[in-house]
């Protein structure tokens, strides 16, 4: 501070210039750090991302995904697979794994259900695919992309409808959908067209200019669905998409899920509502305690239950566990519901048994019906699904 005025001024001004420059570079560096990561990949410093050589424009033009016409180019690989192999995620060293050796493979156009009770590890799986969590071991690949190694690619390739409502209080429904598409890389004209189409298909056009804060839970959920699918990636995760949605629009929503798959995306449906999943998915996996315990088409999973029926007994609160006759193949008690599976041939005996329980005051009601995926699910997980018994 004891320097002469002019010299001091000069140093101060020079210093300002130099350090502003340095800071500016620092700012750009930090802001574009994941860009740098991408550039490294492009120039080939990575050993995991191998690109097949370009062989001229693809046979199907440049726009493969619905709103990809601006920024996405065709890739030489024609038919991709999404595969998860031996995926393990351990949050704390001493706690049981949240994902324990999960392996699955899904292709374009498939609607794939991820079923399991709360805390089974479904969200952990989804977040690892999306690049939000790092797997402890195992691999996740989409075509030539290694999604564990390249979370930036993962986020570009996956669309996501979280279970929580979208933060769109101060967005008009239409704007929310369009901006979500813009963020996903869509072009304005495409997005406007697709937004209109989605609003119409879900029959929520009348709320197109309503602010999110004023929408009912169900309409808001549908707007969230539209945000996730207006510019869908090859992988679309829908976490409980039908929550709060009325029965009529649920049907419309399932049609749109099918349409998104029809355009070439693989749609993952995360749910604990087995009855809905049974009607809507091509294949499904049941996850429990971090493990994939069953996988297949709904009918293949039900194969074991052919020739069987489900007898549900609603036990009187406080009554002792009823003794089960010999013909009962299996049973699960959840709350006051005793779900049993019996041979079709023993249906009459089953009804007699249930009636005798009611007569003795041990049970209040019973219901005999066809076995469903619900029974498979109960047998596998020991839990009753979402709103399985509500209807």
């Amino acid at each position: 501070m004891a320097w002469g005025g002019a010299a001091h001024d000069l140093i101060a001004e020079l210093g300002a210039g130099i350090f502003a420059l340095v800071a500016g570079l620092g700012l750009i560096w930090a802001a574009s750090r994941d860009e740098m990561y991408n550039i490294q990949k492009l120039v080939g410093t990575s050993h995991t991302l191998k690109r097949a050589p370009r062989s001229g424009p693809g046979a199907f033009g440049t726009a493969t995904f619905p709103c990809a016409s601006v920024v996405m180019e065709p890739d030489p690989l024609s038919e991709w697979k999404f595969s998860v192999t031996d995926l393990v995620k351990i949050y704390e060293p001493d706690s049981p794994p949240a994902n324990d050796g999960i392996t699955l493979e899904v292709g374009p156009g498939e609607v794939y259900g991820l079923l399991g009770p709360n805390g089974a590890g479904k969200s952990t799986l989804v977040k690892q695919v999306m690049g939000l969590l790092k797997p402890t071991s195992g691999s996740i690949a989409l075509g030539e992309y290694d999604l564990v190694d390249d979370p930036t690619a993962a986020r570009q390739l996956c669309s996501y409808l979280p279970q929580a409502q979208m933060p769109i209080d101060s967005f008009k429904a239409r704007e929310a959908i369009e901006v979500a598409g813009l963020i996903r890389g869509g072009s304005r004209a495409d997005l406007r067209r697709r937004t209109d189409a989605l609003l119409a298909a879900l029959e929520i056009e009348e709320w197109g200019d309503t602010f999110g804060a004023k929408l009912s839970g169900g309409v808001r959920r549908l707007v969230g669905f539209a945000m996730a699918t207006v510019c869908p990636g090859p992988i679309v995760f829908l976490d409980e998409p039908t929550n709060d949605v009325d029965p009529l629009r649920r049907r419309l929503l399932w049609e749109q899920v099918r349409a998104v798959a029809g355009e070439g995306s693989a749609v993952f449906l995360v749910t604990h509502n087995v009855l809905e999943a049974e009607k809507s998915v091509d294949r499904l996996a049941v996850i429990n305690e971090g493990r994939l315990i069953a996988q297949g088409t709904p009918s293949s999973l039900k194969a074991e239950d052919r020739g069987r029926m489900r007898l549900l007994v609603m036990v009187t609160p406080g009554a002792p566990d009823p003794a089960e006759p010999d013909f009962v193949i299996g049973s699960t008690r959840v709350g006051h519901n005793l779900a049993t599976v019996i041979p079709e041939a023993d249906a009459e005996k089953g009804i007699e048994w249930a009636k005798s329980l009611i007569a003795a005051g041990h049970a209040e009601e019973y219901a005999l019906g066809a076995t469903s995926l619900e029974d498979v699910y109960i047998r596998l997980t020991g839990e009753v699904s979402g709103d399985g018994h509500d209807r």
């Binding site: 101060a12 350090f19 700012l27 802001a31 199907f60 977040k127 704007e175 901006v179």
Partner: protein, 265 residues
């Protein structure tokens, strides 16, 4: 029965989007998102910013009673510095914490935009919102205490560095500390420290020696010096050392932010 054509079942993967074009495009889209997210309470926020900016100068004047020119300049420029620090160091952590608590953080973090572009968009909105408050502070000081300000070219790096440094440190804390409640408590403590125990509204001579020395190495005093020296004549002397300390904090903040933004648990 119809036969599905081959085309219908063939799907191709898009190429990964990279480069400055993608970055700018993402920044633009996220800027839209941020403006729309805050627009319902934006008018209220602007009014509050103006009231707080003006209120600090008037309020501190009441506290001190005899406000001479130098004190008025200290108060006014201190108010400006405080607004600039709050943008990054307080507003950013609060926005991020709020998003973590309401559950939207993970959705926003799952979007395909480069994280730096998304964070910068959020800071941009916070910075734009702060401008009316800064202007109000200066105008009220001129009106109430009849002081004059001088604007030197160093005002540009001074403001940029102050905002950038505060923002990087704020982002590092906001994204680096897992528990949003802890982040919020820390930011409260930070406001308290910046206003009460940092030479932002008053000269460092009033602090105990050890604290004044400490402030030579913390970013707040250099921020105050940089802004104050570029808005006034002869009140304080900005030193090369202060530029160095401020730049160093900015770079360290940028480095930590860069790491925290792409980290996965």
């Amino acid at each position: 029965m119809t036969v599905m054509t081959a085309e219908a079942s063939v799907a191709r993967l898009p190429a990964k989007r990279v480069g400055p074009g993608n970055w700018l495009r993402s920044y633009g889209a996220m800027l839209r998102w941020e403006v729309m997210s805050s627009r319902l309470f934006l008018p209220l926020l602007l009014v509050i910013q103006i009231l707080v900016g003006a209120g600090f100068v008037i309020g501190f004047g009441l506290l001190i009673t005899e406000v001479d020119t130098a004190t008025a300049l200290y108060l006014a420029t201190g108010g400006v510095v405080q607004s600039l620090i709050l943008i990054g160091l307080i507003v950013t952590p609060q926005v991020v914490s709020q998003r973590k608590m309401e559950g939207s953080y993970e959705y926003l973090w799952s979007l395909p935009t480069p994280r730096g572009a998304a964070s910068l968009a959020s800071t941009t909105v916070a910075a734009l919102v702060a401008i009316p408050g800064v202007v109000a502070t200066l105008l009220v000081a001129v009106w109430r205490y009849d002081v004059t300000f001088a604007v030197h070219p160093t005002v540009v790096p001074a403001i940029l560095l102050t905002v950038a440094c505060g923002s990087f440190l704020g982002m590092a804390a906001a994204h680096g500390i897992p528990n949003p409640q802890v982040t919020l408590l820390l930011t409260q403590l930070m406001i308290f420290f910046v206003i009460g125990f940092s030479p932002v509204f008053f000269p460092p001579e009033r602090l105990p020696n050890w604290l004044a020395t400490l402030h030579d190495y913390l970013p707040f005093y250099p921020m105050a010096l940089a802004v104050r020296s570029s808005l006034t004549n002869g009140l304080v002397d900005m030193t090369a050392n202060a530029w160095l300390v401020l730049s160093a904090w900015t770079i360290v903040g940028a480095l930590i932010t860069g790491i925290v933004l792409v980290r996965r648990k």
